[in-house]
C-alpha cells in the first residue's frame, strides 16, 4: 500500500517546553481526516485534533498542510501527495489562534470578535410580525442576496489564512464580515442594526483587508469573504462614512475611471492622503531617469461610449457613491489643457489616428462609435 509521512505538530503545554514534530507513516487513502484517525487508532492515541461530522458540515477539522489551510475531511490524501510531489506533509494547527494542544486551537477569540459585528438578525417590527402565528413574507429573489454567506460553518479556515488578521490584532476576520454582511442585505433586519454593523465593521478593520483573496481560496463552503468586505465597504461609503482613506480611494476610482477610462496614480496620494508632494517627487524622480511622465492618461477612442455604459449601470444599480461631475469636469479640463483640445475632440482625434496608423477601418467598422464614423 502506498504510504506517505505526516510530520505532525505536537505540543502539550502541560508537558512540552516547546512544540515538536512527530513523523507518522500513513496510507495514501481516503481523506486527511482518515489519515489522522488512522494515526490515533493505530499508531498513537495521544495525538489530539478535532473532528466530528467527518463529512464537511461541522467545521471542526481544519488544519494546515505545509502551511496551507485545509479542511481535513474534504482533502483527499492522493491530492496532497500529488500537490506536494511525494514530499513529507507537515501538519500544523490553524494559524492566528493559540494552540491548546497539538492540532487543537482556541477558537473563542474569533467567535468573540465575530460577536462584535452583531451576527444575528435584529428583526424590524415593520417587516417581521411580532405575533408568532404570522409568517413574514420573503421572496426567493431576496434570499439570493445572502445565499453564499449563510454557508459559513465557522471552521475558521479563513481566519487562519487571513493576511489582515496576521497584521492587525483588531481585525475581526473574514468570516465575521461575511456573517455581518448576510444581515446587512436581509430586509427583515432593522436599519439601526445595519448602521451599527457598519460602524463596528469599520472599527473592526474593514479597511485593513488587503484583498488577497486567500479567504475565498480556503473556504470549504464557497463563502466569499473578500467580496463581502468589498460590499460592506460600499455600504459604509454609501452610509456616509467617507472620511477614511479607502472611501477617498474609491471616489478616485469612480471619478477617474469614468472621466478617462483609467485611474491616475500620480493623483492618488493627493486625493487620498492630501499629499501633494508625492506627485511632484515621483515626477521628478522619473524625469531624472529620463522617463516621460504623462500627467493624465490619454483618452482613447471608445471613451464616450464607455462613459455611457458606465452611467447607465450606475443609474440602474445600488451604488456606494454618486459620480462627482464637478470632479469629472476638472479632470476633463486637465485633459484638454494638456492635450490642447476639449475631450470630445481628443477622442475624435484618437479615432482618426487609429485609422491612419493601422488602416483597420474595414475590420473595425461597426465597432467604432462616434460622430465621424
Amino acid at each position: 500500500m502506498e504510504t506517505v509521512t505526516l510530520k505532525v505538530f505536537r505540543f502539550d503545554p502541560e508537558k512540552d517546553k516547546i512544540p515538536y514534530y512527530r513523523d507518522y507513516e500513513v496510507p495514501v487513502e481516503g481523506t486527511l481526516l482518515n489519515a489522522l484517525l488512522y494515526i490515533k487508532e493505530n499508531l498513537d492515541p495521544t495525538i489530539s485534533f478535532r473532528a466530528f461530522c467527518r463529512s464537511e458540515v461541522c467545521g471542526s477539522c481544519s488544519v494546515r498542510v505545509n502551511g496551507k489551510t485545509k479542511l481535513a475531511c474534504k482533502t483527499p490524501m492522493k491530492e496532497l501527495v500529488k500537490t506536494w510531489k511525494g514530499k513529507p506533509l507537515r501538519i500544523d494547527p490553524l494559524n492566528h489562534m493559540k494552540v491548546i494542544r497539538d492540532l487543537v486551537v482556541d477558537i473563542d477569540k474569533p467567535i468573540e470578535k465575530m460577536k462584535t459585528l452583531i451576527p444575528w438578525l435584529v428583526p424590524d417590527p415593520r417587516v417581521v410580525p411580532s405575533d408568532p402565528r404570522h409568517e413574514s413574507i420573503i421572496y426567493p429573489e431576496e434570499m439570493e442576496l445572502y445565499k453564499d454567506q449563510i454557508h459559513c460553518m465557522l471552521c475558521f479556515s479563513c481566519y487562519s489564512a487571513c493576511e489582515a488578521v496576521e497584521d492587525n490584532e483588531r481585525y475581526r476576520g473574514p468570516f465575521a464580515f461575511s456573517k455581518a454582511y448576510r444581515f446587512q442585505v436581509d430586509r427583515r433586519d432593522i436599519e439601526t442594526a445595519k448602521e451599527k454593523r457598519i460602524r463596528y465593521s469599520i472599527s473592526g478593520g474593514l479597511w485593513s483587508c488587503v484583498q488577497c483573496q486567500k479567504c475565498i481560496h480556503v473556504c470549504p463552503k464557497g463563502v466569499k469573504p473578500a467580496e463581502d468586505i468589498q460590499n460592506l465597504r460600499g455600504q459604509a461609503v454609501k452610509k456616509g462614512f467617507t472620511d477614511k482613506p479607502g472611501a477617498k480611494k474609491l471616489k478616485h476610482y469612480v471619478d477617474w475611471i469614468y472621466a478617462t477610462g483609467q485611474i491616475n496614480r500620480l493623483y492618488l496620494p493627493e486625493e487620498v492622503y492630501g499629499n501633494k508632494e508625492a506627485r511632484k517627487k515621483l515626477t521628478e524622480e522619473y524625469e531624472r531617469m529620463g522617463i516621460e511622465v504623462w500627467e493624465v492618461p490619454k483618452p482613447t477612442k471608445g471613451l464616450m461610449k464607455f462613459r455611457d455604459i458606465y452611467l447607465e449601470i450606475l443609474s440602474r444599480e445600488d451604488k456606494a457613491l454618486e459620480l462627482d461631475f464637478s470632479h469629472v469636469r476638472k479632470i476633463d479640463k486637465m485633459v484638454s489643457d494638456i492635450f490642447k483640445a476639449d475631450i470630445c475632440t481628443i477622442v475624435d482625434r484618437a479615432h482618426q489616428n487609429n485609422r491612419k496608423s493601422k488602416g483597420l477601418i474595414g475590420k473595425l467598422k461597426g465597432l467604432l462609435g462616434g460622430s465621424d464614423d
Binding site: 489582515a164 492587525n168 478593520g205 488577497c212 481560496h217 480611494k249 496614480r265 458606465y310 449601470i313 473595425l364
Partner: protein, 282 residues
Amino acid sequence: MIKVGFYQGCCFQGQDAHMFETMKEVFRMIDVELELLEETTCCGGNTIDEENRKLSYAINARNIALAEAKGLDMLISCNTCYMVIAKAKNALDNNKKLRDEINELLKEEGLEYRGTNKIYHLLDFFRDVVGYDRIRKAVKRPLKGWKVGAYYGCHVLYPKHTAIDDGDNPSSLQEVLKALGAEVIDDYEAKDTCCGYHAFFTDKTMTMKKLNRILGSVKKAGVDIVATPCPLCFKSFDIYQLQMENPPMVPSAFLPELMAYAFGLDKRKSGLGHHLIEVKKE
C-alpha cells in the same frame, strides 16, 4: 508567430508607457506578437466592485469583447487585472441574465461579449502557449549567479476558480526563472505573504507590515532580487518600499524585465535601469 491581444490596464501607460515597448520586444523574441487592445479601460482595480459589482462586470465584459471583436485571446500581465477580468468572465459565462443585460449595453458600441476567447496571465501563457523551451532558446545572457526570489503575488493563485496555477504549491514562475538561467529561491518564509499593494490607500500600515515581512524574509534568504509577474507587486516593492521606516533596499523586478535582460536587452531598455531601488546585479 502567435498573435495575442494585450490588455494594458493602468500599468503600461503614462510614466510606465515605456514598459509596453519592452514587453513587445520580449514577446517578439519568443515569437509572440502583442496587439495592444487600445480601447480597453482600467479593469476597476478590484475597487470599482465596492461601488457596484455589476459595473465591474460591465467594464470588463467590454474589455473582453474588444479582444473578441478582433478574434484574439487576451493576455493580461497584471495579477489583479487578471483576477478581476477572470471573475467577470466567470460571472458572465455562468449567468445568462447578466450576460444579456450587459450585452444590451455593449450593443451601442457594436460590441458583444460572447465568451469565445481565452484570457491569459503571463504565467499560464508562458506555460501553456509559449512553452519554457522557447524562452530558454531566446536567452542570450543567462542570469547565471543571480539569486532570484520567486514572488507570485496573490491574484494569480487565489481564489481557486480563477487561479492559473496550484495555489498551494505553484511552479510556473520558478520554471520561467529557471529558463532564464537564474538560481531560484522559492522557499523563503514570507513567500506567500501578500505584497500589501491594495491596502496602501485603505490602511497604509498594512502595506508597510507586509513589505517588512516579505523583504525581510527575502533578504534573510540572501536573494539578489525579487521577481514578480505582477506589476502591482513590483510597484509595492519598488515604490512603497521606500516609505518604510528603514527600507531594506531590496531590488525587485517585474518578470518581463528580467526576461528582456536575459534576452540581451540592456539594463535601460529592459526596464531594470528605471527602478527607484537600483538593480546593481549584472
